[in-house]
């Protein structure tokens, strides 16, 4: 390529900047003759370019000298025989050679693992208790024994019978209508004794029924029917003697169970108030003044 002369001198000169850019090619002799001459003229005109050219040449010479370096044969063989994969794997296991993100992940996992191990296997409870003991506070654990709420039927009956015996429950009343108003309880007492029962109140045993005033024993609910003439006797009898006693009483008169809704009075009784004998039969023994009878 030919330089285009546009100056009056007819020749275009190369600037220092442009010459500097072409110094390497000039040193390696890669310029065409015209550029080579232009660069050479620029070097003559600018001493700095000559200095830089010398530097480039020195550098090229040094590199040529350096390129004569060889690898030692024994070292070369050693490196070839070295288990490269093992070394590479060994190096890859080194966390410091990992990427920063992978290092962070590995460190986080390691710390988490250590924390979990500490939480699971360190006996924290013992230390907590030691601290509590150090404060002199006692913790006692007691086993509360609950009573058996469920009992068998047999047990329930035994308990009920026992309670009846120790604390009788007066819950049965029978009416005995005797035909003879002169019926005395003395006769009744003989039967009772024979049955193994006992008459609690024997104060009026010898008196005829129509002469006994037992009004204080009544609750006074039905005054119209002259309840004051109703005679009430309390008899205590064992459970096994109850039925025989009732059967015996039935032979003495009209025997019936009291209907507790109207105080045991039937319509017939209300219409015809007659002296009747009310027997309260107590199953078991009745306590009177603290003594069982």
């Amino acid at each position: 390529m030919e330089l285009i002369p546009h100056l009056k001198k007819g020749k275009r000169t190369l600037s220092e900047f442009m010459a500097r850019e072409l110094l390497y090619d000039f040193a390696t002799q890669n310029l065409d003759p015209q550029r080579k001459q232009a660069v050479q003229e620029a070097i003559e005109n600018h001493p700095n370019l000559g200095k830089e050219l010398d530097d480039i040449l020195y550098g090229i010479t040094y590199c040529k000298h350096l390129s004569q370096t060889r690898t030692k044969d024994e070292m070369y063989q050693k490196m070839l025989n070295d288990p490269f994969t093992f070394r590479d794997a060994k190096k890859s296991l080194n966390v410091r050679n990992w990427n920063a993100a992978y290092q962070w992940v590995a460190e986080t996992l390691f710390v988490s693992f250590v924390f979990v191990i500490i939480v699971l296997f360190v006996p924290w409870q013992k230390w907590v208790y030691k601290i509590i003991d150090a404060k002199k506070s006692d913790i006692s654990l007691t086993e509360m024994k609950k009573e058996k709420a469920f009992r068998s039927v047999e047990e329930e009956n035994k308990i009920a019978i026992k309670n009846h015996i120790e604390e009788p429950n007066i819950d049965r009343k029978y009416h005995l209508k005797v035909a003879n108003p002169n019926y005395t309880i003395n006769k009744f007492q003989t039967i009772i004794n024979k049955m193994g029962a006992s008459l609690v109140d024997t104060g009026t045993a010898n008196q005829p029924l129509n002469q006994i005033d037992n009004s204080e024993n009544n609750d006074g609910k039905d005054e119209k029917n002259d309840i004051s003439k109703e005679k009430i006797f309390v008899v205590s009898v064992p459970q096994n003697k109850l039925d025989p006693l009732i059967n015996e009483l039935k032979t003495h008169g009209e025997f019936s169970v009291i209907n507790m809704l109207n105080n045991g009075r039937s319509q017939g009784d209300l219409a015809e108030p007659k002296p009747i004998l009310t027997i309260q039969i107590v199953i078991g023994k009745m306590r009177v003044n603290g003594q069982a009878k």
């Binding site: 110094l23 020195y58 550098g59 060889r70 690898t71 490196m79």
Partner: protein, 156 residues
């Protein structure tokens, strides 16, 4: 010392490249071994299309970029590496100084073209750069290297 055939072997070039690029003997050997594995693998994959110099430049450049972040200036070897047979009367002091004061682009360009004797065309093709860019870097790098080498060149 005349040109030895061993220099043409890729592995020798790899080791020298990594050593002169980082001045770390241990890391240079490791990188060279990695590069040799990648080189052989690429040779198998590309077969007929395989270009030795292009593959060499690309593989070494890749590994150097990966390991360049971990280069510690304090770990630079002061003495010449024992794995090489150095030419007589060669002093690495200018090169060490050159490594400190030059950019990686200029240094590697000088290393590839004038030390490892790779052509500018191959280097430009491998790095996907223009030849003018390579020449520019070479001019800058060699000028600096020559300047550092000027007073003590060739003296042990």
């Amino acid at each position: 010392m005349t040109k030895n055939e061993s220099l043409t072997q890729p592995f020798n070039k790899m080791v020298l490249y990594f050593y002169l690029a980082s001045l770390n003997e241990k890391q240079s050997v490791e990188n060279a071994m990695k590069a040799s594995v990648l080189f052989q693998k690429r040779q198998k994959d590309e077969k007929n299309k395989f270009d030795e110099e292009v593959a060499l430049i690309q593989i070494c450049n890749l590994l150097f970029n990966e390991s360049s972040q971990s280069i510690n200036q304090k770990q630079l070897t002061i003495l010449n590496a024992s794995i090489f047979s150095w030419p007589d009367h060669l002093d690495l002091t200018p090169w060490r100084e050159f490594q400190k004061r030059s950019s990686a682009q200029e240094r590697l360009a000088v290393l590839w073209v004038h030390v490892l004797e790779i052509s500018i065309e191959k280097l430009a093709t491998s790095l996907n750069l223009s030849e003018g860019t390579i020449r520019y870097r070479l001019g800058k790098g060699l000028a600096l290297l020559g300047q550092l080498n000027r007073p003590n060149w060739g003296v042990i």
